[in-house]
């Protein structure tokens, strides 16, 4: 595998529980790479393996062409920002930042000037002689960053660095982190369970679930073209439709007979080989669906459905509609829809372009539980369901 930092076939068990199974991926130099997933998906374990705080049962970690799997943490050109920052409570900010260089036995003069430099970088010069307990969460965060960066690591590992901060501060720190990355240009590996954090800061994201990587790629690709039901449901919000292919209309599109929705059919973009009769699962994002009180203009590649309002939730920057079509609840999210709120119609037309639906490679019923509302009523699995 090419790449600056590579994980090759990493497996790890804690007792009987498999935490990572055969995970491989690589990170390009100077990029921000995010490991995103729910708690217990193995993302932090992967980070700790990279830091040397945990060793894998099998597999290798390669950094810049060198195998670092068996090196102790002190010998790795890698530093970590811990989730709760793990600052030394008995040391001042100055001493905290100086810890690495002092262990490294750099000359005293050099340490002093380096520490000053990093204090300035995080704009904390005036707090140098305070103890960590006297600082706010955001300040402690910056100290943890400086304490790691002063060692000039080749890779900075960040373990949920913003999880302990409130929303506003989190957004500001995210911008600061991004600016910092632009300035120093080293590789960041960023672990988070927050999809919006991962989306906004990363060059590449690996979505993890139960010890494997479900999908890896740039944020836009992961959001727009989810490969599995887990990715579709974990990142953002989505609608799942179950159906059976009835017709391959041309090379790019196929027609799908939908379950739970009476006789409705849907045209869908199809970039894989499907045959009539195959069972498929389709994901469509709520904001990709247009909603109107009047019948929309028809188009050859447009899917149009009619449904009843189940619920309307006003969320400020947008409005969420729950529309029932047959036995399926469809969520639709739209901006500038005040008129729809005022008029309170009970019937709506939904419309979306065939390109906005994605056939999922990998579908699991359990992933529906990640959605705010289980959008279909429970049903028995049918014969036609093949996982593609």
């Amino acid at each position: 595998m090419a790449g600056f930092l590579s994980f090759e076939n990493i497996s790890k068990k804690f007792g009987r529980q498999t935490v990572l199974s055969d995970v491989s991926f690589s990170v390009e130099k100077g990029k921000i790479f995010s490991l995103l997933g729910p708690s217990g998906c193995g993302k932090t374990t992967l980070l700790r393996i990279c830091a040397g705080l945990e060793s894998p049962d099998s597999g290798r970690v390669i950094l810049d062409g060198k195998d670092i799997t068996d090196l102790v943490p002190n010998d790795r050109p890698v530093n970590t920002v811990f989730q709760n920052y793990a600052l030394f409570p008995h040391m001042t900010i100055w001493e905290n930042i100086a810890f690495g260089p002092r262990v490294d036995k750099r000359p005293k003069q050099e340490i002093a000037s380096e520490v000053e430099k990093y204090l300035e970088m995080i704009q904390m010069t005036s707090h140098a002689y305070k103890k960590p307990a006297q600082l706010s969460g955001g300040m402690r965060q910056r100290v943890a960053l400086a304490r790691a960066l002063i060692n000039h690591p080749q890779v900075l590992l960040l373990d949920e660095p913003l999880a302990a901060l409130d929303l506003k501060l989190r957004q500001r720190m995210l911008v600061e982190l991004d600016e910092l990355h632009d300035k120093i240009g080293i590789t960041f590996v960023y672990v988070t369970h927050d999809q919006s954090e991962a989306m906004s800061i990363s060059d590449d994201v690996a979505v993890m679930n139960r010890g494997i990587i479900e999908q890896m790629g740039p944020p836009a690709e992961i959001y727009e073209a989810p490969k599995s039901s887990f990715v579709a449901a974990f990142i953002g919000d989505t609608n799942f439709f179950d159906g059976t292919v009835t017709e391959i209309t041309d090379n790019d599109y196929s027609r799908v007979q939908l379950e739970n929705m009476g006789n409705q059919q849907m045209l869908i973009f199809n970039d894989r080989r499907l045959n009539a009769g195959d069972g498929v699962h389709v994901s469509i994002r709520p904001e990709k669906i247009d909603i109107s009180a009047e019948p929309p203009a028809t188009d050859r590649k447009k899917n149009i459905l009619k449904g009843h309002v189940e619920d309307i939730i006003y969320m400020g920057n947008s409005t969420k509609f729950w529309i029932r079509v047959g036995r399926q609840l469809i969520s639709v999210q739209k901006q500038h829809s005040a008129f729809l709120l005022d008029q309170k119609p009970i019937r709506f037309w939904l419309a979306w372009h065939a390109d906005n639906g994605y056939i999922l490679d990998n579908y699991q019923d359990a992933d529906r539980s990640l959605l705010p509302i289980n959008v279909t009523e429970p049903q028995k699995p049918e014969k036609g369901h093949k996982q593609k």
Binding site: G52, L53, N84, A86, P89, F99, V103, D104, A133
Partner: protein, 263 residues
């Protein structure tokens, strides 16, 4: 906050003060009374017994024995107790639960039982009774006290700071010296002070396991009560009370510092 108008707290405090400290007050006052016998009335203020005390060779040698035992038992207990606390805190398996229970039980076992069992044990090993047997006996209970105070401190100890230190390139020698010990030091010092105080004060266990030439202060005070001049004891007691008060104050200070420097 509104002022509490109830008189109950006041009377409770007063009751405790009287019950606990009135006898000590009597001793303290008496120690400055130059009369030869207690109860012979106040004969004016005098430091006579204090002067006599520091001139008494037997008292001095008993004090030295007590200090030797106290310091050596405390030093040993600090090491054993701290290690025990780490074992109990870090591992939650059955063995460590039993370990914890055994340490706590040791604090509650009647002294006389411990004294008898230790004596029989030493005799069965054909050990000569003396400073060394007293030292061993004191190490047993001192270790429990140190382990308990260090355990309390470890509740607030963030082990991720150890990982952070490893991540920043530190080896174990540096981690122990610069990261672990400074953070649990208040617990260790409090435990050491507690252990030292109890070691100096201990009479019952010491009485069973002491031998010729190894009389400690508490044992000597007892023999003075029985045979000699009990009036020096008053002066000696006052000094012991003052030292104990200072120690108790220090221990209290150290233990309440618990949360101050934790994020």
């Amino acid at each position: 906050m509104e002022k509490c108008k109830s008189k109950i707290p006041f009377f409770t405090t007063l009751g405790i003060m009287l019950l606990f400290y009135l006898p000590m007050l009597v001793v303290a006052v008496d120690s400055f009374n130059p009369g030869r016998y207690s109860g012979s009335g106040w004969n004016g203020f005098s430091m006579r017994w204090y002067v006599k005390l520091v001139q008494d060779q037997d008292v001095i040698s008993a004090l030295i024995n007590s200090l030797i035992i106290g310091l050596s038992a405390t030093a040993t207990a600090v090491i054993l107790g701290t290690l025990a606390a780490f074992a109990i805190h870090l591992y939650t398996d059955k063995l460590q639960k039993v370990h914890r229970l055994m340490l706590i039980t040791l604090l509650g076992i009647p002294d006389i039982l411990m004294g008898v069992s230790l004596l029989l044990f030493f005799i069965s090993l054909k050990m000569e009774l003396g400073l060394f047997t007293i030292f061993l006996a004191h190490v047993t209970f001192c270790t429990s006290f140190v382990a308990m105070t260090v355990l309390a401190r470890l509740q607030d100890f963030d082990f991720s700071t150890v990982e952070a230190a490893r991540d920043l390139g530190a080896g174990w020698a540096i981690i122990i010296r610069r990261v672990i010990i400074p953070q649990i030091a208040p617990g260790i010092i409090a435990g050491a002070l507690l252990a030292f105080t109890i070691s100096i004060d201990d009479f019952v266990i010491t009485y069973f396991v002491y031998g010729p030439g190894s009389t400690t202060l508490s044992v000597y005070i007892y023999s003075m009560m029985k045979h000699g001049t009990p009036v020096i004891i008053n002066a000696l007691s006052v000094i012991l009370i003052i030292v104990t008060f200072i120690m108790a104050y220090a221990i209290n200070k150290l233990m309440s510092r618990k949360n101050e420097n934790i994020a």
